[in-house]
């Protein structure tokens, strides 16, 4: 499968999962999305994963323009007992074309779980077909925690109605580059 085919499949699944995909840059669409989360939650705090190498320079600016105060996350035990965090920002190591999943190896999984919104930076060249290829990419020793996120947190426990954001992020977006 070519990189282009994988990308197309990934984007199709992301759309189905209601995951917004923005080009890598300070676009009006990104600003609109950040504003939406800021307003909907009423919170200011954004966690930027410390494991995120080469944080895109425009991101810090976009966050502050939308009124976020960005902070590096603390260790889980130091997290406040009821963290009102609006946004988590992290870099995914891989994407999966089959399911639209985002795979994180180095990121603290709480960054992708506790906040109400999740913004993920992804390299388009890192999109793999499915689980099999992802597991082949993992080198020994295997990562202590491999966490995959496939769309917003959700439940259908009440009359099978889809409810988003039940424990984890309600809004997920991807900044795609490469």
């Amino acid at each position: 499968m070519t990189t282009q085919t994988l990308l197309e499949q990934f984007l199709k699944q992301a759309e189905r999962l209601d995951v917004a995909v923005f080009p890598h840059g300070p676009t009006p669409a990104l600003k609109e999305w950040l504003d939406k989360i800021r307003t909907a939650t009423g919170f200011q705090e954004a966690w930027v994963d410390p494991a995120m190498e080469n944080s895109p320079p425009f991101l810090e600016e976009a966050l502050s323009e939308s009124g976020f105060q960005s902070a590096f996350p603390l260790e889980p035990r130091e997290i406040d007992s009821s963290p009102n965090v609006a946004l988590g920002v992290a870099r995914a190591d891989f994407g999966l074309a089959y399911s639209g999943s985002l795979a994180f190896i180095k990121t603290n999984p709480l960054v992708t779980l506790v906040p109400a919104g999740l913004l993920v930076v992804l390299d388009a060249k890192k999109i793999l077909p499915a689980y099999k290829e992802l597991f082949l990419e993992l080198t020994s020793p295997l990562p202590a925690i491999l966490s995959l996120v496939t769309g917003p947190s959700q439940t259908s426990d009440i009359e099978k109605k889809l409810i988003k954001g039940v424990h984890g992020p309600k809004w997920v977006a991807i900044l795609l580059h490469g």
Partner: protein, 462 residues
């Protein structure tokens, strides 16, 4: 503490039950059909998954040995529990050792099987269910009625009324309001819990990896936030290698919820995982539960039942389940999988579950690992008759059937018997006295038989 399944305190089904089930299951089939329409290779995946599961079961002791070896080699504490009692005791001992006051728990049918919550709570440890459906049944003091959707028997209105009562505030009949209340309530619990209890979807023999799949994110909280994490895993839930894990994860969500992947899939792998936990002053324990599985494994006719990956699809496909609901089974596992698994791991009081089926085969069609469930049901029935034939009650039963067959040949006597029985069954709560009605309706015979109505109507017409 109640550990006998026949004594589970479950409510009688109400008239709303069938409507609630029909509504939920119709949604499931719609979603599943849409997803599978785009995956033409699905049946090949099912065949591959079936082969993986059956081959794994055939070599289970050596896979388990390898799995344990990798985990223990990395410093992970693995505890073997032969029975439900041992499993409960192991969790309790861990809780005591770490001075646990509150535990948060994600959905785990295995914990239901070993009656863990009741035991911990009677020992003074607060257990909070964190999956939304599980929380709803816990607050209602009920038991799950579906493997994947524990509160499938409840309508939104019933849940809103329950939350209003429990949280002492007016909760609107809106799914988002109910979920928001649960989110706020549980978040505080996650951050204040001393211990997290989870199940395990699969353990990988080759790498010692533990795989967890969910949609809400509550499992991830339970596994990663509290200082102690206890994972309960049935000994049969082994995947030999990572490639097999990929196949099993794929069919699990496709069959269970019609999703290509669960919203959250978490893989914990040694040696890094084993090393990191103590460094961060965190503790992880894996409890490998047998509880009757070895017996099933050693029976070549019944081994296939252990291939189940608990997707819950067979419940949705079963015409019997859809009419009577999960509580009627009076067992932690319900539907077709309950009917074949329970008599295998806990025969006492559950052998009759093999008759909760029309043998139509819809469960076999939908099963993502192609288990021949009707064949297994027949084996359960055979086992039942084999035991019944040796029971001292056999003679009495034989006479009862003989008498019934004689009565059945005389319509007047049948009519008289019906008239005698009818007023008795109309006595309120008689069904509870008889035991049958604890989770089922006991129908009162019609006032006029079909023959009486038929001939009566014809006479009227003439």
């Amino acid at each position: 503490m109640r550990t006998r399944f026949s004594l589970l305190d479950t409510p009688s089904p109400n008239l709303q039950l069938e409507a609630n089930l029909d509504n939920a299951i119709a949604h499931y089939f719609q979603k599943r059909a849409l997803t599978l329409a785009e995956i033409p290779e699905y049946q090949d995946l099912v065949q591959r998954a079936r082969k993986i599961r059956l081959d794994t079961l055939n070599g289970l002791p050596s896979h388990l040995k390898r799995f344990r070896g990798v985990l223990e080699g990395a410093g992970v504490r693995v505890i073997e529990a032969k029975s439900a009692e041992e499993a409960r005791r192991a969790v309790f001992d861990i809780a005591k050792r770490h001075d646990v006051k509150r535990a948060v728990k994600s959905k785990s049918m295995l914990s239901e099987e070993v009656c863990l919550n009741e035991f911990l709570e009677e020992s003074g440890i607060e257990v909070v269910e964190t999956d939304l459906g599980e929380l709803i049944v816990q607050l209602a003091k009920e038991k799950p009625s579906h493997i994947l959707t524990p509160c499938i028997h409840k309508s939104q209105r019933e849940i809103a009324e329950l939350f209003s009562r429990v949280f002492q505030r007016d909760v609107p009949d809106e799914e988002s309001a109910i979920a928001e209340l649960a989110r706020v309530f549980l978040r505080e619990k996650f951050f204040s819990a001393d211990m997290g209890i989870t199940g395990v979807n699969f353990g990988v023999a080759e790498t010692g990896t533990l795989a967890f799949v969910e949609n809400e994110g509550n499992l991830r909280y339970c596994a990663l936030l509290p200082r102690v994490h206890v994972a309960l895993m049935g000994i049969e839930r082994i995947a030999p290698d990572m490639e097999s894990l990929g196949t099993l994860l794929t069919v699990l969500t496709l069959a269970g919820t019609g999703q290509r992947a669960g919203a959250y899939t978490t893989l914990l792998s040694p040696p890094e995982f084993g090393r990191k936990a103590p460094e961060q002053d965190r503790f992880f324990y894996l409890i490998l539960v047998d509880n009757g599985r070895s017996g099933l494994l050693s029976d070549p006719k019944r081994r296939e039942t252990l291939a189940c990956i608990r997707c819950g699809a067979c419940l949705n496909a079963c015409v019997v389940y859809r009419h009577i609901g999960g509580h009627a089974y009076q067992a932690p596992y319900m539907g077709p999988i309950g009917a074949i698994l329970m008599p295998g791991i806990h025969p006492k009081g559950t052998e009759r579950l093999g008759f909760f089926s029309t043998l139509c085969g819809a469960c076999r069609e939908i099963c993502p690992v192609g288990i021949d469930i009707p064949g297994q049901l027949l084996a359960v029935r055979e086992q039942f008759f084999h035991h019944a034939a040796r029971s001292p009650a056999k003679g009495v039963r034989y006479l009862a059937f003989l008498l019934a067959s004689h009565i059945g040949r005389h319509p007047r006597v049948v009519s008289l018997a019906r008239r005698l029985v009818r007023p008795m069954l109309a006595i309120p709560y008689i069904e509870h006295v008889l035991g049958w009605g604890k989770a089922r309706d006991l129908p009162v015979p019609a006032s006029r038989s079909f023959q009486e109505r038929f001939w009566g109507d014809h006479t009227d017409a003439a």
